[in-house]
């Protein structure tokens, strides 16, 4: 791992980036909370020429989960005799009024788990209904799919399916006239599953460089250098910097499981809006495991953003955390107003702790 942080390599990469950088502004977007963590924690923005801008996109799954989905989970676990499981990142994210952590403090049975197999195991040991609030991008989806395939005979197990897909979000952002993006650092671990090909389609459609990048500082600098080289050569395409963990074809078995269990649907992204074909829902044959259909619960009108909260603009790469009047003042990781300051991969959380 030390080689990936080797200072001599870092210096050489910075030197090459400076040499090849054009004079105009170049905006490179990433869509991964772990990338933002590397960039901020290692101070990479400060090492780059001033005209090379690294922009954070919607790469944090809990940050883009709509309030309506959180409100549904809260109302479900409060009103019905169920055990609600979820991943730790989701636990403290505020919905319209409160969070799952507040529901737990009021006596609701909310349990934080590390993997979905733990939720299925709970279901085998109880008569109660177990509902997993299932969030995450393509990195997480295959594990959920494999558990659905294994647990489809469990009568007391279901999921709230809140999964979202990254390439449709990239397509949406690149299609937005008010968002300038000159190239993408594509998310390494999403790519471990889906491979590089989906970005090739986008590179061709929008004539923008796409580089699948790893998570060490030198990985990220090399990804930026590769994007700049593509810009200079005017040959936008998909390239893979993260060869040690992402193959061109991805994880074929994982993709098959995803496709066997889920189908795409339009989905709202918190603070961004509805993105066509960016969500996943269970296929008809797995409907009995759909928690939203199993427990018909009406929720009141939800609100994704409190007035003045800039999470939506931040997720679109149009603002940075420091632009928000709540950031670090009324909104902190301990007392969140927006979703982006809760998860360790939220841009506001990262800026609050490492800037």
């Amino acid at each position: 791992m030390l080689e990936f942080r080797d200072k001599t390599t870092t210096e050489a990469l910075i030197k090459e980036i400076r040499k090849i950088s054009p004079e105009n502004n170049i905006k490179v977007m990433h869509v991964c909370g772990t990338h933002e963590m590397t960039i901020t924690r290692w101070g990479l923005r400060g090492l780059l020429p001033k005209n090379i801008k690294l922009i954070c996109g919607p790469g944090c799954p809990v940050c883009v989960t709509s309030s309506s989905e959180i409100d549904f989970a809260i109302k479900l676990v409060k009103e019905k005799d169920v055990i609600l499981t979820t991943f730790g990142d989701m636990f403290r994210v505020p919905g319209t009024g409160s969070s799952l952590s507040e529901a737990k403090s009021q006596g609701a049975d909310v349990r934080v788990i590390y993997g979905i197999d733990e939720a299925a195991k709970i279901a085998t040991k109880t008569e109660k209904q177990v509902v997993h609030f299932s969030i995450g991008f393509e990195t997480t989806v295959p594990s959920i799919a494999s558990e659905i395939l294994e647990s489809k005979t469990l009568k007391n197990f279901s999921i709230i399916c809140s999964h979202r897909l990254i390439p449709p979000a990239m397509d949406y952002l690149l299609s937005s006239e008010d968002i300038e993006i000159d190239g993408f650092i594509c998310p390494g671990h999403v790519s471990t599953i889906i491979g590089c090909e989906p970005y090739g389609v986008l590179a061709e459609k929008f004539a923008k460089p796409m580089v699948v990048g790893g998570f060490e500082p030198n990985d990220m600098l090399l990804s930026i250098l590769m994007i700049l080289k593509q810009i200079k050569a005017e040959r936008p395409e998909v390239e893979n910097e993260y060869t040690r963990a992402a193959k061109k074809e991805g994880n074929i078995l994982a993709k098959k499981m995803m496709n066997d269990v889920f189908e795409t649907c339009d989905r709202g992204w918190r603070g961004i809006g509805i993105i066509p074909n960016s969500g996943l829902r269970l296929k008809d044959e797995f409907m009995e495991l759909d928690g939203e259909k199993k427990f018909k619960i009406e929720i009141r009108k939800s609100q994704d953003l409190r007035p003045g909260c800039k999470c939506g603009e931040i997720m679109k790469g149009k603002a940075i955390p420091q632009d928000c009047r709540y950031f670090g003042k009324a909104c902190t990781p301990e007392n969140p107003i927006g979703a982006c300051i809760v998860s360790a991969e939220g841009p506001c959380y990262i800026a609050y702790n490492y800037s």
Binding site: C60, P61, G115, G136, T139, S143, H189, N218, R244, A245
Partner: protein, 72 residues
């Protein structure tokens, strides 16, 4: 959420493997990488191994750096 951490496979137990994250050991599900063997390195995400890594692939990354730097 998309954080994935490399770990070494120490023992295979059906659908699960005991993996070592440089000291911390944990059982993870290997159904998405069914061909892993003891001694292999896997990327672990949310309790599941999602990719089988080999040292050759890690070396490839380092070679890529050298190649890019030598051609700019």
């Amino acid at each position: 959420m998309c954080l994935a951490i490399p770990a070494e496979v120490k023992k295979i137990k059906g659908e699960y493997a005991l993996v070592d994250f440089g000291g911390l050991k944990k059982d993870v599900k290997i159904v998405l990488t069914p061909e892993v063997k003891v001694g292999d390195y896997v990327l672990v995400h949310a309790g599941f191994s999602i990719h089988e890594m080999d040292k050759e692939e890690a070396r490839e990354s380092l070679e890529l750096w050298k190649e890019i730097l030598s051609t700019t």
